[in-house]
Symmetry: D2
Subunit: 359 residues, 4 copies
């Protein structure tokens, strides 16, 4: 159930609706929009009688939702969400670039990379202290020591830190040292972890699972949001298919599909999405052209000696050259408001219809 | 590195090798076989000099391993492993049947199902108290109360309890109330969970992930074993493909593939593997014919009112009829030692060669 | 539109219905069943008024069909079809075995293989004279000379010949020399070829395409049948997925799915379905246990020197040993009428419901 | 075997090499490049002794090829191929746009669409007269009458005609009326058709099969070229995966992968590649940004009444608006020579290494 408030509804009206929701034993999620606030109700197993709400002051409409998601949906919030990450924001119309090494290896490696990332103009730095590795015998990351090094990078270069957590303790640590908690592709349906993430006070970068459908991807975001953390950024990073020329198949059509249904920002990972250094530039450009809010890219001063995923990392020189190219492309794409800034490009509206289908 | 001991090596020889391994800063895993013990060494990042071991008393051979797995491999242990689960065992040549509802819903539902399961002759009971659900708004299980009901089933019917855990706390609780900890498909690469499972003192039923390759599946088992818990049962439960006539595509060819590489027992889940009641019998038979050690099947007294996955559950009547059919089939398949009891059917040996390829 | 005749309808009644169909500009396909005849109508683009038929003598019912298939469906013909191939038949309750080399290479190779196939008790011989090869530089088959050698095998050993055609001319040639025309997986949606096959006077063995859904597979059969050739045998030979331990993923759940919808016989190809000699026995057994009418298996006197697909071929010794095992298994499975003989195993009826869903 | 001629080799030198190739019983394919000619040799089953060629006048190098492709490869021809289609060319650095309806339905529909296509500035018109349809009961195209209408479009609007052929007769007809013969995705491994296409005197637009790997895709082009028709344009049109938000998954990473290996031009089909009108603009932009030479897009004056694939067709208004956007994007991408014009973007050379890997 979604409660759409009237544009002239005041804070008291919203409070009253939330109180009724609570009295019924459910949970209310107020999401302020540009002109009006919508309130999502979760926790109900069956349907709720709209009559409970329709006559309350300030309520414009009570909408039954048949799609399994509520909080991620454009029905709840028709304009795009902007997520604040440290000192910068994602989804605000500027090109988001999150760059850095796959894994934190050493202070030297980290600072050398961060220098290039800061020089490019990027606002976000990535690097893993806890690494999900297919083999138990592969490098597993430096743990809390790695997080401390990342915190030093923030101090030194003013970059906001995005880094992965793999369990409850990890979430606590990343929330302590970092600015954004990444949930990796292999944990996209680790529902226990999603719930902990939903209780954290830091934004969540949620990577699409290797075999996740769009519905499953959005419902994973819904898990986080249903616990009260609405700061979620989606990330397409390739799916598993039969194709063997790339490590994964980057599924860029998920970007217009997400835009049609959800208000959440979405970025693209062309590094994991291809697994090959030589494909990163083409797929980074393609991601922006498909309408993504930005990119997350792996950079390493010496990819050949990287402890993790060296084959896909750009050198700092390649990264700097590519950043300029991407920046110009993003400007060209968005200067007429044709692409990412508008949720669906102007020639192809029908958004309202799409949103209605959800209710 | 694998150390193969001579068949006349005594306990002291084994201790001595383990001590050397520890002194080098690694971890040794002694796995007794029929005629000799093999010792797997893990924790090394690079290669180890075989000269450290070759001259120790009782050592037959030190083998470098190039495949990423060690402890799961037939090189370490050439005969099939038998895993003790509560009062019964899996992989010992008898047909394993783990039956029960998707989720624990109530005492009545549980006892009615357990009565049928016990009557069939099955030794294991399944039922989830913690349910991984795609939507945060779907039934999530009864939690510890559900586990207590399962423990009552064991008391009342003598069935050994197999039930899922989704995080560290869940593993502690399942280890307390149940006999076997299930790791679900969506958590197959939840490496934090795999490590906790490796520290538990109960056997692990590890389900294959929806998009897991054979290597990734075996390495997930290796994660558990590398922490010291060698009691692992594998489970094929269907992979995600384009095919839409079944919920998943049951990939039975993984059974001969696992047999060729690993000593671990493997069972098949035709319920999740198909998602349709009407396919369960055909695919249960096919699983046994492909050489599986047994099956895990969903049974519910009234599938139409099940809180979870009702479409694929058998009624108790269907289950009882099917059990008899499967029991006869398993006997017919195995009476001549042609199928499951022998790791690779006699017409197709070459096991030694296969094992050699791994080193 | 399907016209179901009454069980006491005579040949004249059927003729009359067919004449009306023709007068309306459509095509009628009479399919005699055990107790009554059903007539499928194809060629109509929109719906047809049932009133055209309901009052004709001998007509029991006129059913609108909303599913895209008509002639393959159990609605048209509720009992299983039996397809006559040369001197033997497929789908009649006996285990079908089609064995032989991937490609016809030489008289010696062919006769040595055929001797083993005939000795086993199999009634059908396979071998390709026209080979669909991924590379233009790989061996493409002996062409008509190969077909002549296959015809010699029939003379000498009394085996019925199943061999592939790839274009219109090939269909003419195979129809001239062979007993059953195989349409390969890569041509399953070569609609021009399917139409030619529908005009041939020999039965068609139709292999499932590497990425064909069940609907597409059945519609490919419908293409052949809509041209008037109702002698179609389906063959599951593995689909393309991410899994890399086998050449393809054998999707055995398609067998119960086909049984539920269609009256056509279905066999399994564990050779192409796995690509590995050592998996063939396990998957051959699994195919029978899943309810297939039989198998098609590659055998070669010396797999190591085969010009095509040697890795998956059985030696003649392996084949003979496996045949015995399969024969016993098939008897055990079918002696109680539990598996293949009945279209859906007795514990899981609901066939009528399923059939209704189609109309 | 590839014979690389010296840059100062004359026509006589090339003739002499071709004569030797012929005398050895093989086939030589001379491919002139910017500075030198390379000669591919096909038809050999085993390896050829380089000594046959190395001492001939004008020969720089004789290279053994271990990859299964020769004629498509950058080893044979290091600069990109330009394919002449009617009065225009593809792969010459200009943005290729092939637009038109899925199927030729009527003169009115065709001319109304062609007017918009010509107005946009596009040089190529698409429209099917022979339609590969999953169901035998769906609209199959107007056949030769449709081709005649397409020829009228060329006369009237000066557009070059790209249209599909499905068998030998179709190829003859399309070659007679059209300018470029399309081989559809479902026929990508219809090897008989590929050979006929290789004997046609018109360029071939080869669409990637739904489950084709990169190697299979390139080998299908190799089939056409090995028959002597070197005018091949590749087309990515989406692959079949589990993802269900789009009809297919457009795999844009194949573009940099093709660039690295092959000199052939490649375009993208965002209409079939997504199946949804609302995704076409995003994926068209993404295709260009990934480095494609152009696009093939479905346009229909009234998509809602289209006889085929209406859901994915753009209206003429949408098409015209999109063309402008794409044209500006293509200019922006290519003005600095960063993307499509150069085979691999400048920051990521290593082409020579890649080419070497092939030999």
């Amino acid at each position: 159930m979604l409660i759409v408030m009237r544009s002239d509804a005041g804070p008291g009206d919203i409070e009253r609706v939330l109180a009724v929701v609570e009295r019924l034993g459910f949970r209310g999620h107020a999401m302020p929009g540009e002109s009006r606030t919508a309130i999502g109700i979760t926790g109900n197993e069956g349907s709720i009688d709209p009559a409970n709400f329709e006559n309350l002051p300030g309520v414009a409409e009570a909408i039954r939702v048949t799609k399994p998601y509520k909080l991620i949906s454009r029905d709840l919030r028709s304009e795009k969400s902007i997520v604040q990450v440290g000192t910068s924001s994602i989804g605000d119309g500027s090109m988001t670039m999150i760059a850095g090494p796959c894994a934190v290896e050493s202070r030297e490696q980290l600072f050398e990379t961060a220098e290039a990332v800061a020089a490019s103009g990027a606002k976000f730095f990535r690097g893993g202290a806890f690494k999900p590795r297919t083999s138990p015998y592969a490098f597993q990351g430096l743990g809390e020591d790695g997080l401390k090094l990342l915190a030093e990078v923030r101090e030194e270069f003013g970059l906001n830190i995005v880094t992965e957590a793999m369990d409850e303790k990890g979430i606590e640590l990343v929330a302590k040292y970092g600015d954004c908690i990444q949930i990796g592709a292999r944990n996209m349906q680790n529902f226990a972890l999603l719930k902990y993430a939903g209780q954290a006070n830091k934004p969540i970068l949620l990577k699409r699972g290797l075999s996740a459908t769009l519905d499953e991807f959005l419902l994973a975001a819904e898990y986080v949001m249903s616990e009260g953390n609405y700061q979620v950024i989606l990330c397409e990073r390739g799916i598993r298919t039969f194709a063997d020329h790339a490590r994964n198949t980057l599924d860029l059509s998920v970007i217009p599909a997400v835009r049609r249904i959800s208000h959440l920002p979405i970025i693209v990972d062309p590094s994991h999405g291809t697994g090959h250094n030589y494909m990163v530039d083409a797929m980074a450009r393609a991601g922006l052209a498909a309408g993504a809010d930005g990119l997350i890219i792996e950079v390493h001063p010496k990819p050949s000696v990287a402890l993790c995923d060296g084959a896909q990392a750009l050198t700092t020189e390649q990264y700097l050259a590519l950043y300029d190219q991407l920046d110009r492309l993003y400007q060209a794409l968005n200067e007429k408001g044709e692409v990412a800034a508008s949720p669906v490009s102007p020639a192809f509206t029908g958004v309202t219809t799409a949103a209605r289908e959800l209710s």
